[in-house]
Subunit: 128 residues, 2 copies
DNA sequence: CTGTATCCTGAAAGATACTG
DNA sequence: CAGTATCTTTCAGGATACAG
């Protein structure tokens, strides 16, 4: 054995540009990942997205899409027609998120049940 | 070409137990992923965690750890000593999160810069 | 059809002070 | 050392009504 004690973690353990920073950046919004899945097969219209995203309001969908557009993950294309038509599509950057998302989904299939069970178990043991 | 139109997405596109659900479940808290990184090499004491997690308050660290304990990702061990000593360690479930986290970090190293640049670009073009 | 304008709510983070 | 107790702020989400 070469290591008997654990080295203490330094105050600069996480550099300012540490990639782990990005996790909350990506995962903070509730609908982002589902929207990406909905756009995976091709561009979709606003009202077309509202169907699979059951329960989302127009306001929240608009906010989420704008936020993703700001991040360069989604391209918004407005057609000069009447009635108006707007299409949303994944950019290459948006498409690059499918990789991490698949990794998280794979984890989920294996372990999310255990996590949820632990959560319930904890509630039973401690109060409510 | 076998597909000229895109199939509309059904209202039940996301089943109730769809793994994509887990992304916000995992990513919603700000400090969770950094805490996991801090516990990767071995168990750590409460005050030991506060060093690398620069800026976190005792309250938020305690809340985060309890939430992770509830989810079965962290094991809390209290030693009957004086002064008190408490150690936090990753459970196997907690350790299983390192996989998805590495995937996200790999994405980050490649693409986070582009995302941040797009965000700034958007701000320059539109107001503020 | 594709949104915006308001108003409201709840959860999490942070600041600060205090305790077994 | 390892937390808890308050208080405040922020902000995403949701409900509802309205508009180009």
């Amino acid at each position: 054995m070469t290591q008997t004690v654990l080295e203490p973690l330094p105050a600069d353990f996480f550099p300012a540009d540490c990639p782990v920073q990005s996790v909350p950046v990506l995962g903070s919004r509730k609908w982002t990942w589902k929207i990406i899945r909905c756009l995976e097969a091709g561009p979709r219209r606003f009202s077309e997205l509202r169907v699979p995203l059951a329960g989302i309001t127009a306001k929240v969908l608009a906010e989420s899409l704008r936020s993703m557009e700001q991040d360069g993950a989604v391209l918004r294309t407005e057609f000069a027609e009447n009635p108006p038509r707007v299409e949303y599509a994944l950019t290459p950057l948006g498409r690059s998120l499918l990789g991490p998302m698949d990794a998280v989904c794979a984890w989920s299939r294996e372990h999310l049940g255990g996590l949820l069970a632990a959560r319930e178990e904890y509630e039973r043991e401690h109060g409510r």
